[in-house]
């Protein structure tokens, strides 16, 4: 949800289809609601409702359609356009959406994206702006679990927000995380990261330092998605990559049907072939976990 031109369709196209940030310049305004379903991590279906933000549609959502729009919502993603000319009416719209959400989907999670953050060049200014939004939004958000992200389709921030959103949606995440940590220890790897196969969003990882590592992984998400597009263009679909030198080895390998795995080893004693064999050995075990969220708790 969000005003017209805020960037909802752009963000959806960059994450879930093969759009580059440049491609989004071609997008027109969304007519009414665009429904799409994405398979995520095997049997998790995400039903995404991209609600066109022009006035006539918004009126409709908040009046005649409110039960249809705000009923059965698991996640509301509200996109604030940083470049809005009327901040007050933006917040009013947000208030109205939350009011309806409170009526029909009391348990929904809310994510607020302060979008087009690339328009602010200075890093301190960026942080300040996000903090300012966060304070204002928090004040208006009562009775909901809510998080704020500064995002832009021009860098990894959009991957970061969406990784966080889907992370919360995967039911057996704790189990997957535990097993990934075990695997990391067994292979004597220094870091292991699990990516969703289609979107390359980070599903989970083994490092403790949350913010620092996430930013690094998001850059990988963006790089691999970009690279896959290039590979497609030469009719040679990407399969895997391995970078080794005297100090470290990085492996990016298809893992289960719905995931990719990234393994970093820094121990020169660990042979690459052994790491690869370990990845292969762990695969069959993770297939049960990652591709089917109902097994094992």
């Amino acid at each position: 949800m969000g005003r017209s031109g805020a960037g909802k369709t752009s963000m959806r196209s960059v994450i879930f289809t093969n759009y580059t940030a440049h491609d989004t310049r071609r997008l027109g305004a969304t007519i009414d609601v665009e429904h799409s379903t994405v398979q995520f991590m095997g049997d998790l279906s995400l039903n995404i409702w991209d609600c066109g933000g022009q006035h006539k549609y918004l009126d409709n959502y908040l009046n005649e359609q409110k039960e249809n729009i705000f009923g059965n919502v698991e996640v509301l993603i509200y996109v604030f356009d940083l470049e809005t000319t009327n901040q007050e009416s933006e917040y009013e719209l947000y208030d109205e959406c939350l009011q309806n959400l409170g009526l029909y989907s009391r348990d929904a999670k809310v994510y607020c994206l302060v979008h087009k953050i690339d328009k602010i060049l200075d890093d301190d200014m960026k942080a300040q702006t996000i903090a300012r939004y966060e304070r204002a939004i928090k004040k208006r958000t009562k009775g909901f679990d809510m998080e704020v992200f500064g995002t832009s389709i021009w860098d990894h921030t959009i991957y970061r927000a969406w990784s966080r959103i889907v992370y919360k949606l995967i039911p057996n995440m704790a189990t997957i995380e535990r097993h990934l940590r075990n695997f990391c220890e067994l292979t004597e790897a220094s870091e292991v990261v699990l990516f969703e196969r289609a979107t390359f969003l980070v599903v989970c990882h083994t490092t403790v330092d949350e913010t620092q590592s996430l930013n690094r992984y998001m850059n990988v998400s963006q790089a691999i998605k970009d690279y896959r597009r290039t590979c497609q263009a030469v009719q040679a679909p990407f399969h895997s990559m391995e970078v080794r030198n005297r100090y470290y080895s990085i492996f990016v390998e298809p893992f289960t049907k719905s995931t990719y795995i990234l393994v970093i080893t820094t121990d020169p004693e660990v042979e690459p072939a052994v790491t690869k064999a370990n990845i292969n050995a762990a695969r069959s075990h993770f297939v049960k976990l990652a591709d089917n969220s109902e097994v094992l708790q």
């Binding site: 440049h22 870091e191 690094r216 992984y217 850059n219 990988v220 963006q222 790089a223 691999i224 970009d226 690279y227 290039t230 590979c231 263009a233 030469v234 009719q235 040679a236 679909p237 990407f238 399969h239 895997s240 990559m241 391995e242 970078v243 080794r244 030198n245 005297r246 100090y247 470290y248 990085i250 990016v252 990234l262 970093i264 820094t266």
Partner: protein, 323 residues
């Protein structure tokens, strides 16, 4: 002090490097964009957004193997400024790049090119002249061909009228939006690399002994290749190679801080990329700047240790040749 001639600039007192590429053309033809793209790793879209001030002084960029690229200020009218010092064209390892804006009427630019060629060839009859027909993005395939043919014919015809030898004139279609520009620059520098014939035959034999399809020896920073085997270069494949280098760079950032403490250490980096088709890519570090990038069928690259063994030998030979 001569007036605003072509060699004006802060480095005027400095002699030009022995191996040099001189980049010239009308103002706004795209010279500085090309330099910033290749040597400063700028993104083409950022280049379009930013306002690049006109070049006022000659700017030097160091390329691999001691080749220096000079971005000259654009000139409206050679006759006005008295023309460049003919001395700069002299020397067996000098090459001229002339950039023409393909999205604009080329007449004036071509007249200037001809005036430049007259001066340059008088000073150095063997000088390679490389005409970059630039900004071809946005032109249809058909229009691209038409533009190239038009420009090519006019240049060659006019040179013929004046009995100038045109055997060293080459034309390239370029844009900063694809790797066409890097490929053209590679083609220009290729011929100036010391002992380039040796390098080529070395890569040819590496290719055939290891059953590879294509091998590039390239500068990882600028992605310019300074040698390749003699099989034809598929632009798409080169574009793909460039993108692979970028991706490896992005992924390696993960391990920033884990690498060597001194940045002059060769870390023996090797990369393998596998495709879902019968193709693999293998990259092998030769020295701080250069890497070998090999493309071949999976079966070959699968025999990884053998390939690495061969690559190590080739890398050693290359280091000796370039020393």
């Amino acid at each position: 002090m001569s007036d605003t001639d072509l060699t004006q600039g802060s480095q005027l007192s400095e002699p030009l490097a022995d191996r040099r590429i001189l980049v010239m053309g009308m103002p706004r033809s795209g010279k500085t964009c090309i330099m910033q793209l290749i040597f400063e790793d700028k993104n083409p879209y950022d280049l379009m957004d930013q306002l690049i001030p006109p070049t006022m002084v000659r700017t030097a960029y160091d390329m691999i193997s001691g080749i220096t690229v000079y971005d000259f200020p654009g000139i409206e009218d050679l006759a006005d400024v008295g023309g460049p010092d003919p001395e700069i064209f002299v020397g067996p390892n000098t090459s001229l790049v002339y950039v023409i804006d393909a999205q604009n009427e080329a007449g004036k630019s071509l007249a200037e090119l001809l005036a430049l060629i007259r001066v340059a060839l008088a000073a150095n009859p063997a000088l390679p002249v490389n005409v970059f027909i630039h900004k071809i993005d946005g032109l249809s395939e058909e229009l691209k061909m038409e533009t190239q043919q038009g420009i090519q014919q006019r240049v060659l015809k006019n040179m013929g009228f004046e009995s100038l030898d045109s055997s060293n004139v080459q034309f390239f279609l370029t844009t900063v939006f694809t790797e066409t520009i890097r490929e053209a620059m590679s083609r220009v520098s290729l011929r100036m690399v010391p002992r380039c014939d040796y390098l080529e035959s070395l890569l040819n034999s590496f290719c055939s002994k290891s059953s590879l399809d294509k091998v590039f020896l390239l500068d990882v920073r600028s992605k310019i290749y300074l040698a390749t085997d003699s099989s034809p270069t598929d632009p798409q494949l080169y574009q793909f190679a460039c993108k692979t280098i970028d991706t490896i760079g992005d992924i390696s950032m993960l391990c920033a801080g884990l690498g060597p403490e001194r940045d002059d250490e060769v870390v023996m980096q090797r990369t393998v990329v596998t495709m879902d088709t019968n193709m693999r890519l293998f990259m092998y570090q030769v020295n701080l700047e250069l890497s070998l990038l090999c493309l071949g069928p999976s079966a070959v690259v699968k025999q990884q240790s053998l390939l690495e063994f061969n690559a190590a030998k080739v890398a050693k030979a290359i280091r000796q040749i370039l020393q």
